[in-house]
Amino acid sequence: MGLIHEIDFGTPAALSDKTITLTIDGREITVPEGTSIMRASTEAGIQVPKLCATDMVDAFGSCRLCLVEIEGRNGTPASCTTPATDGMVVHTQTGRLKDIRRGVMELYISDHPLDCLTCAANGDCELQDMAGAVGLRDVRYGYDGDNHVRAKKDAGINAKWMPKDESNPYFTYDPSKCIVCSRCVRACQEVQGTFALTIEGRGFDSRVSPSAHELFADSECVSCGACVQACPTATLTEKSVIAIGQPEHSEVTTCAYCGVGCSFKAEMRGEELVRMVPWKDGQANRGHSCVKGRFAYGYSTHKDRILNPMIRDKITDPWREVSWEEALAHTASEFRRLQYQYGRASVGGITSSRCTNEETFLVQKLIRAGFGNNNVDTCARVCHSPTGYGLGQAFGTSAGTQNFDSVEHSDVIVVIGANPTDGHPVFGSRLKKRLRQGAQLIVIDPRRIDLVKTPHVKAAHHLALKPGTNVAVMTALAHVIVTEGLADEQFIRERCDWSEFEDWAEFVSDIRHSPESTETSTGVPADDLRRAARLFATGGNGAIYYGLGVTEHSQGSTTVMAIANLAMVTGNIGRPGVGVNPLRGQNNVQGSCDMGSFPHELPGYRHVSDEAARDVFEKMWGVTISSEPGLRIPNMLDAAVEGSFKGLYIQGEDILQSDPDTKHVAAGLAAMECVVVQDLFLNETANYAHVFLPGSTFLEKDGTFTNAERRINRVRKVMTPKNGFADWEVTQNLARALGLDWDYTHPSQIMDEIAATTPSFAGVNYPYLDQVGSVQWPCNEHFPVGSPIMHVDGFVRGRGKFIRTEYVATDERTGPRFPLLLTTGRILSQYNVGAQTRRTDNVVWHPEDKLEIHPHDAEQRGIHENDWVKLSSRSGDTTLRATITDRVAPGVVYTTFHHPTTQANVITTDYSDWATNCPEYKVTAVQISPSNGPSDWQVEYDEQARQSRRIAGHLEAAE
């Protein structure tokens, strides 16, 4: 075990199919045309000295260290900017080159501190390496001339010296160590696409400047870490490296935040995590990261983390710490008692989209085999269940059709109900890169998300629809495409059911679906919508990316079908650059759905009434599986209130905060006799729990996550679980306490069981994943290397199905009492209910949730920036501070839901998707009024939460 070293090839890979052969230092090497001499030599095993080149950004040619000599050419060209050509003969080490390089290094070092021994980059500094590589022995210029290194100069101050900028919580900028290679500036531009950095001044005055000579924290920087990764010196350094020192070993693992599923190297010193560095070979992120995955892992060692099991008789009692044996025995006996007393169906469980596939599989197995019912559900219920249903109906599989690389081939991109730069930042950066290359963007969102207009990116169309009118807008787009003769008839005839298409075409062609007819209800100007539809139908490869703004509606499933229709009618399925791409919210929400977390589906989306599928599991597990679908989360809560549902095992989900109509959830939980919460923290749901089983973090377990592109990525254990057990072990121990004879010694055995029972995972096993890095399901005998793009030669269900998408306005309507529409979303630095990110330094960017309101609506109500406002709906009310912005249209307000004190879900109603019960989070009729502070509910809730978090023998932590 050591540090995983990745080769830096100096310049990005060339993509040409044509190859050329050249000779470098006597070695012949064949490379794709367009490859730089530098990259070709690295591939030949020869490292040309370099400072300003790194393969995450394009060649720049400023450091003058990588010079080479080419036979038949004059001078000493830079190897990074000179493309290799056929038959070229290159020398990388001659007397002349040695002298030039040494001279260049002398100049660099004459303006660089000589504190290598106490420098944080000691051992990981390219300047140090290059000084060694060129044989630097002396600096003839001395160190006392003009410099940026020393604060004082000749008893006066040195105006060129600048102090360290420590304003970012995660890294420091020390200008005295900067060699102005501009790698950070280029990384910010080319990789992240934020353009927050520049080189200010010129000549010897040049230096790196965040925005207009601002502190990093005040600048446009989004703290993605790309600059820190690009920096060859200690100028930009992780504070954790400064505090701990250089790591000594690393493991490749997968980020546990959003559905992009970035691969990271967890760089360790012993069992201490030094830093997370994005892994270049990660096929989802291609070496990029965001502030959450890169830096926000501090929650794993936060003082709030609970490390001992706890039980209590009543939720009003303080918690009592007990041994694992006692906690599990107590839980088992309670569940047995409840089932004896109230019937087999009186208990159930909730799997976690934050846990691994293996853990999720075990929880549903515990419920199906141990509890003997199908009362299992997962948080996908509240996010992407309509995706599963809608895409399953249209295409035959409930998953995105593309890999993330596909965006590099898109020409027109539709983003609907998603905010990639905040919610899925690494994908957002890849998308912006493609947009800068000239792809066109259509944004369909009530709010002006950053992508609509952000440096160097501008949407061709922003259809700012009224919340809740997605179906009308999507159908109107289809109307324009069909009635203007833009449908891809050849594709439809070859791939789809023609008679279904004809039926659908007749439906959408109806004049009531024309943009002119829908304009008044959707608020989208007809002309704009027509032009957007034409662009999508005729602009080349069209890709649709969508998020929860599509699914979390009463017509969520309908919109998903409308999206599928739109992709099929324009022939945008089955090749790179096109497709229907749900941006999944959580790291393993795709996986938790795949693993049979729904009450009606066994792993691999096979209905519980399917006897053949049941038979596979019954034989392997030696039990009888119920053929009756179990209860969904909302049904469990309803049944609890009615008195027939009594016990719930919740692994890693905070339903009280994340599910709609908080008061109803609270009532349901309070009516149960045994609520078991397995989590890192005493989350909001734990306020109503009787047993608390401490959970483990993604750093403490082996397993796999499946990201939004169906990619199965390995999660690798880098430290011992602080709570004693990985989550899969806890579930196994609970199963054993219930009398099941489970005997897994490693998650790989669970994956083998998944592969043996689930056809789409048949080819997946740990040795194969270790070998190839990751694989996209389906992976079986038909697709031995997985499936980056789906439906290539035909739809999984046979023929693509066009489905009529009748728009039915939600029952949640504005009226005199509640004249505004509330919609909700995420912000970059925080993640969902914030349980993790609120326990990291990310709070510097988002200490509280705020209500965005249009200046017009604010003025009418006498609301000023930062005022406390009361937000009330038919369900309840809460208070938060307002911020006034024209990002939202008049009549629409917006907030995030990262902080439990906000209680945004007290406001949301219990309306839900007609097909899947996915709650309608994105539309709530509300009223806003000035307020003095927290509402009665918030005060009561805080007190109840404080009471219920007491642990016997512990002093209450001061907040």
Partner: protein, 158 residues
């Protein structure tokens, strides 16, 4: 001190930006326009320009600071630039520059207390054949010497 939107300065910035933002490569013309309007490029203009051209503040700042002619602060009523490049130095440019500093009582990039002069170095005015060269406001001066320097100072101060 940044000024809030709606103030007179912001209005003048916005007017210049709006008049020029549709041009191809609008950034330099806008910066010239701002400098013509204010005599310098106020910090407040950076976010306005960035927003209008869909650039980042960093992008605009990088360009403003790259060109010495874009000023961070207003100059004096007259700007005297003395060439510091090789040909002029060879013909006494150094001594002339020192004389100018002594006469005005300021260093390079500084403005006299009466706000009459700002003294600046420049690197080649393209008049090497008639070195040393200088430039007063937009007027080139060939074969610059102490007499011409004294005349200029006297004339402007009188």
């Amino acid at each position: 001190m940044m000024q809030a939107a709606g103030t007179e300065v912001m209005q003048r910035i916005t007017d210049v930006v709006d008049a020029l933002k549709e041009k191809d490569g609008a950034l330099l013309p806008i910066l010239h326009g701002i400098q013509d309007e204010f005599g310098y490029v106020p910090d407040e203009s950076v976010p306005v320009i960035a927003d209008a051209l869909n650039l980042s503040r960093a992008d605009v700042h990088g360009v403003v600071t790259f060109y010495h002619d874009y000023r961070k602060h207003p100059a004096g009523r007259h700007v005297l630039k003395i060439c510091r490049a090789e040909a002029c130095q060879a013909l006494g440019g150094q001594a002339l520059a020192e004389r100018a500093m002594a006469l005005l009582g300021i260093g390079f990039h500084e403005t006299t207390t009466d706000n009459a002069f700002t003294l600046e170095p420049t690197f080649c005015l393209g008049l090497c054949a008639c070195a040393p060269a200088a430039m007063l406001d937009n007027q080139l001066i060939a074969r610059f010497d102490e007499t011409k320097l004294a005349e200029i100072v006297k004339e402007i101060r009188s």
